[in-house]
Structures are given as structure tokens and as C-alpha cells.
């Protein structure tokens, strides 16, 4: 039997103790070596989880910043096979940090659901979110995750009905991921009162821990979503922009830590 090196339960335990902040990183962005270094820098900043994307050419749930990150990774040759290897290196560098994967469905489908799940568990992943598989089509994915002992994360959105929210909560095994804005990933400024209310409304209906993502970039936002009941906050596009601006310079790791550090601190 396969053993899960990251383990879905480790994250749940950590989230019970304290809310955690996670960066979103694309494997191979801006280079394979630097994506491992960024993961280490994030853990050094205090990140309690790493959300890790496999680069994909058609990321329909993502806005411009993450699309660019995918392009950078694909252009330097980060195939799925290469991404598995980088994932393993990140796990070796940060063995105690749960790794949640974000992988578009066709990459999982092309490898076969079972094989994909087994390989990522072997490389150290603890859970998997496939953003373009909705609840009704999720049974095969859930089954493959269960067989590989990989946590299964489901998305919900601002317009998800409470009946549907309950069914998604029952299907998820790691946490439920709330997309805080009706839209694609990207940094957003105004309108945070609505997000806060949405987080509060969603969190109390769930058995699983609630993760909030899409559009977070400020310490104040992290404090507010945690106060409203979220146990996990993922910061993606904001950091992808920092990586984009510094991809070629020698300030990449410093700039990344300067951006992530205050967000992690705000969550503590």
C-alpha cells in the first residue's frame, strides 16, 4: 500500500491549532530551481501550507498573473513529468509542510486519474484540487484520491447554494476552498465587506475547514477572513506579480519574502 508522505491529516491538525497562510506557486516558475527556492522561502516566512500548481496552457479559472506564471513555467520546459520531480524536491526541502496541488483536469485525465494521484502522493503531495471538475463530475476523482490516500479539495463560490455547499462539504476530504469573488484569480481592492460576510456565512455551514482564496493581497484582508472563520488563506496572483517583476533579477527571493512575510504575520 502506498503511504502518503505529506498526509491529508497533518494539514487538518495544523488548521485546528491555528489558521494558516499559504502562497500559491507554479512548479517551474520562474525556473525549476527558483521554484524550489521560493517554496523554501515561503516556509521560512511561516507559511503553514504550500499550494502548488502544475503549469497548464489553458487555465480557464485563472486571471492574467497566474496565466503568465504558467507560460513562464511551460516555456522553460516544465512538463508534467518534470513538475513531479520539482514537487518531490520541494517536499524534500520542506518535509513538514502540507502541499496542496492545483491541477487542471486534462493533465490528470491524460495520465490517468489513478496513476496521477499515486505519483503525486509519492512525490509528497497531501491534497489535490482540480478546479475544472465540478461536484457532479467529481466522483471518479474522489475515488482516485481515496485510493491514493490523497486529500480531495473542492471549490465553492459566492453563488453556490447552501444545499450544494453541504453536498460539496460531504464530498471534500481536506478542506473546502471558497473562491471569494465571482471571477477568475487576480488581485482586487474594493468591496471586502462582502467577502467577509461571505466567509462568515460559508464557514459556519461546513464540517471541513474553510480556505479562502482569489484576490487576497493585504494583511488586513487576511486578518478579516480569519476573524470571519476561515482557517486557511491562499495568496496567488499578488505573489505571481512579484515573481513576474523580479523573475530575472537577483532580488527575487528577497522581494517574495518581503511580500509574503507581512501576510503570514497578519494571520498569526
Amino acid at each position: 500500500m502506498l503511504t502518503s508522505r505529506g498526509g491529508p491529516s497533518r494539514l487538518k491538525r495544523a488548521l485546528r491549532e491555528a489558521p494558516q497562510v499559504s502562497p500559491f506557486l507554479v512548479l517551474g516558475d520562474p525556473t525549476p530551481e527558483l521554484s524550489v527556492a521560493l517554496a523554501k522561502a515561503a516556509v521560512a516566512c511561516g507559511a503553514g501550507m504550500l499550494e502548488i500548481g502544475f503549469p497548464y496552457g489553458d487555465p480557464v479559472a485563472d486571471g492574467p498573473a497566474i496565466q503568465k506564471a504558467d507560460v513562464r513555467a511551460l516555456e522553460n520546459g516544465t512538463s508534467t513529468t518534470k513538475a513531479m520531480e520539482i514537487l518531490g524536491r520541494i517536499h524534500d526541502a520542506c518535509p513538514k509542510t502540507p502541499l496542496n496541488l492545483l491541477v487542471y483536469a486534462n493533465l490528470v485525465h491524460a495520465r490517468g486519474f489513478d496513476r496521477f494521484c499515486e505519483e503525486v502522493v509519492e512525490a509528497g503531495a497531501s491534497s489535490l484540487l482540480v478546479p475544472d471538475v465540478c461536484l457532479e463530475e467529481s466522483a471518479p476523482l474522489k475515488k482516485a484520491c481515496r485510493r491514493a490516500r490523497l486529500g480531495h479539495v473542492q471549490l465553492v463560490g459566492p453563488l453556490t447554494s447552501s444545499d450544494r455547499l453541504k453536498r460539496i462539504d460531504a464530498a471534500a476530504t481536506s478542506f473546502v476552498y471558497l473562491v471569494a469573488h465571482q471571477g477568475v484569480t487576480g488581485v482586487r481592492g474594493a468591496g471586502f465587506d462582502e467577502v467577509e460576510a461571505l466567509v462568515a456565512r460559508t464557514a459556519w455551514q461546513l464540517n471541513n475547514p474553510l480556505c479562502v482564496g482569489f484576490g487576497l493581497s493585504k494583511p488586513e484582508q487576511i486578518r478579516r477572513v480569519f476573524a470571519a472563520g476561515a482557517r486557511l488563506a491562499v495568496v496567488g496572483s499578488y505573489l505571481a506579480n512579484v515573481i513576474d517583476e523580479n523573475a530575472r533579477g537577483d532580488r527575487l527571493l528577497a522581494a517574495f519574502s518581503e511580500a509574503l512575510g507581512p501576510l503570514v504575520t497578519a494571520g498569526q
Binding site: D58, V60, T80, L107, H109, D114, P140, V156, Q182
Partner: protein
């Protein structure tokens, strides 16, 4: 046993389904309700039939083609969708969906476009029905199809250049899906072909099925009985499904779809998804796609921008596997030759897309694909005005190549 993937929502056998982010689900559920409640209502049917009759020019005629038939060794009759308002079959679908959007209380429609035909048709229907239209079009396609961009703008639509990926149709669909995710309360995504998540493949098919329904009764009056074969080009597959659908239960009528073979299948530069692709998930459906062995979607190639798509409607993949329809690839050069031949023989300039079907008919008897004198119904799905600049660019190159 290995975990297998069978779509649950609106499947066509092992194809179709709803592979989308959770955020789009409320919009798709609303659309499914509209498909069942609005589209079947008497009021809607009446309004659509008026729009199609007065504004779009239905029914379109059947045309016998004595000279072209002679050249093929077949008896070929054309369904003249090229005479539909807008110049292609696309108008059937946009009239239906734009009207539906209006019945649903949406003020804004968005659409993707490759060749610009669907974008232009959407812009026209939106203008007629008083809706705002935003059209996503790959930057590369905007250069290739400049006159269609002008048609859209003239009808009041805003054309948004898509700069991601290869800057063609696939990327325009990605951006339209992103826009829809953000604006689904005010906006209807007017998808142009029989692809996408459920219910789009059925919704679009049902609006295009008028082509085959009309053709069956027109054929009976003109020729008697049924044709031996029904032939159409396939990009996303809406014109082909449109003419096939009424014939699917007529088991002795062969259904043949022609895909863009581009520079030849062996070159890898083609868009022949059903002939040379593999099963994958693209734009919300499980279907036949062009992809590498890790599931990255490949960039298709065709001289015809309207067939330049790395996926295909899931119902076609189903008809292929069920053995009910067969699909072949036609290269760019064959399509261009047929474009010239048909224009000279019949005085009708076809679009590059149906030129693929014409090219098949010109060689079908010789290649033993059809018996001589077979009675064939072909969907002449669009007119070629939009392709003239492109044709003359290729023509000059071809003549240059021939003289070397």
C-alpha cells in the same frame, strides 16, 4: 479496477459532461432551465420563427449542381446555408440564443469567434434585439479576418483582442469563459458551436437542427426519398450536427464529416480532431482533442480559420465511436482547389470551410468512398467573400511554387 471517467451531466456515451469550475455551475443550471422552459414555450417558438423567417431569411433553398455533380460523378444537392443572413449557418444559433438571452432578462451577450462569422452573426443578432455584445477574438484571427472585425464593429459590438496563448479561437473561448464567470448575472455566453459544457452541445444542436429538418422535406419534394449520403465540414461541428441530426435515425443515410487536414496529418499541422486526436477534456467537455501525451492542448492548423480548433463537439465523437458517422481529413491544398472548381462550375463562391466537403466529393468516387451516381446532400454552410484576401495570398504563393 482502474478509475474510469464517464461524464454524468448530459453525456453522449463516454463524451460530453460538465468539466467546469464550480463558479460556472449556477449559470449552466440557469441555462439548462431556460433550455427546458423558455425554448420549448409557444411564445419563444413563435418569436424565433419570426426572427428566422423575416430577419435571417429562412427557409434556405436546395440547389442542384449539374456541372459540379458531373465533375464528381455524383448527384450532389446543396443546402444553401451560405444564403442565410450573415453569410453562414451561424445565424441559426445566434438568433436562438440571443432571443433566449432576452427572454432570460440578460442585457449583455458575449461570444468567442475564430473566423469572425460567429462574432459577426452575434453582433447582428444583438443589434436587432437591442443587447450589448462583446466579442472575444484572437489577435492573430483579427489580422486574418479584418473585414469581419469591421462588420462586428459596424453593428455596435465591442471586439476584444485576445493576446493569450496562440491568440486564436481556443484562447478566445478561454477569455469568454473568464468574462462569463465574472458577469454571469447580467451576461449570456453565446457559444458558437456544439462544444462546451452541458447544456451547450444540445442547445446549439437544437438551434442548428432546422437545417436538416428543412432539407429532409425539401429533398422529398425535389428528388423523392432520402439521399444516400449527407456531407458537411467539421470544425467545432455545428453545421454538421445541424444537417446530420434529422438524418441520424434514418439508418441507411450515410453521414460523413470532413475535418481540416491542414498541411497533412503526418505534418502535425492540422485540425483533424476526430481523425487524429485523442480523448481529453477541453472547454468543459470530454471529447476528442488535439493534445500532447501529457494533456497540453496543441495548436491546430488550417487554411480555414473557422475549422482551426483543437476540440470538437462531443456528439461527433459519440457518432464516430457508434459507427453512425464517419470522418475524414481534407488538406488545405485540396480545399483550395475545390474552392476554385466550385466557383467556376456553379458561380457560387463557397467559404473555405465547406470547400473541405466539396473537395471530398470531387474525389469520393475515385477513392471508393462513395459509389458513382450516389445521391448526396451537402451543407454549403457559408459563403466565401470573407476568404477572398486569404485566397489570393495563397493563390499567389501556389502559382509561385508551381513555376519553380
Amino acid at each position: 479496477m482502474a478509475t474510469t471517467l464517464v461524464p454524468k451531466i448530459g453525456p453522449f456515451g463516454e463524451y460530453g459532461g460538465r468539466y467546469v469550475p464550480e463558479l460556472l455551475v449556477p449559470a449552466l443550471e440557469q441555462l439548462e432551465r431556460a433550455r427546458k422552459e423558455i425554448v420549448t414555450s409557444r411564445e419563444f417558438k413563435l418569436a424565433l420563427s419570426e426572427l428566422l423567417g423575416e430577419w435571417a431569411g429562412r427557409p434556405t433553398p436546395l440547389l442542384t449542381t449539374p456541372a459540379f455533380s458531373e465533375a464528381c460523378g455524383l448527384d450532389v444537392v446543396m443546402k444553401r446555408e451560405d444564403l442565410l443572413h450573415g453569410g453562414a449557418h451561424k445565424t441559426n444559433n445566434v438568433a436562438g440564443q440571443a432571443l433566449m438571452a432576452k427572454f432570460m432578462g440578460k442585457r449583455r451577450v458575449i461570444a468567442e469567434t475564430g473566423a469572425g462569422q460567429h462574432g459577426a452573426a452575434t453582433a447582428m443578432a444583438a443589434a436587432r434585439l437591442g443587447l450589448d455584445a462583446v466579442i472575444y477574438m484572437g489577435e492573430k484571427d483579427m489580422e486574418r479576418q479584418a473585414s469581419n472585425v469591421k462588420r462586428m464593429e459596424l453593428c455596435g459590438a465591442r471586439v476584444v483582442p485576445v493576446t493569450s496563448g496562440a491568440r486564436t479561437l481556443k484562447d478566445a473561448i478561454n477569455d469568454a469563459l473568464r468574462d462569463w464567470t465574472q458577469n454571469l448575472e447580467t451576461t449570456h455566453y453565446l457559444l458558437g458551436t456544439v462544444c462546451g459544457p452541458h447544456p451547450f452541445p444540445r442547445l446549439v444542436r437544437d438551434f442548428q437542427a432546422i437545417i436538416g429538418r428543412e432539407a429532409i422535406s425539401q429533398w422529398r419534394k425535389l428528388k423523392g426519398g432520402l439521399p444516400d449520403a449527407v456531407v458537411a465540414c467539421v470544425g467545432g461541428g455545428s453545421n454538421a450536427i445541424g444537417i446530420f441530426h434529422a438524418f441520424v435515425p434514418k439508418k441507411r443515410v450515410q453521414l460523413i464529416g470532413l475535418e481540416p487536414g491542414g498541411l497533412g496529418l503526418e505534418s502535425g499541422q492540422h485540425g483533424a480532431t476526430l481523425v487524429a486526436g485523442s480523448t481529453g477534456l477541453l472547454h468543459g467537455a470530454r471529447t476528442s482533442v488535439l493534445q500532447d501525451d501529457e494533456g497540453q492542448i496543441l495548436e491546430p492548423h488550417s487554411v480555414s480559420a473557422g475549422l482551426d480548433y483543437p476540440g470538437v463537439g462531443p456528439e461527433h465523437a459519440y457518432l464516430r465511436d457508434a459507427g453512425r458517422a464517419r470522418y475524414l481529413a481534407i488538406n488545405d491544398d485540396e480545399a483550395l482547389d475545390a474552392f476554385e472548381t466550385f466557383s467556376r462550375l456553379e458561380g457560387i463562391i463557397p467559404a473555405f470551410e465547406p470547400a473541405h466537403a466539396l473537395a471530398f466529393l470531387l474525389k469520393a468516387v475515385r477513392d471508393d468512398e462513395l459509389p458513382a451516381r450516389s445521391r448526396v446532400l451537402m451543407n454549403l454552410c457559408g459563403r466565401g467573400d470573407k476568404d477572398l484576401d486569404n485566397y489570393y495570398a495563397h493563390y499567389a504563393q501556389r502559382k509561385l511554387g508551381a513555376s519553380e
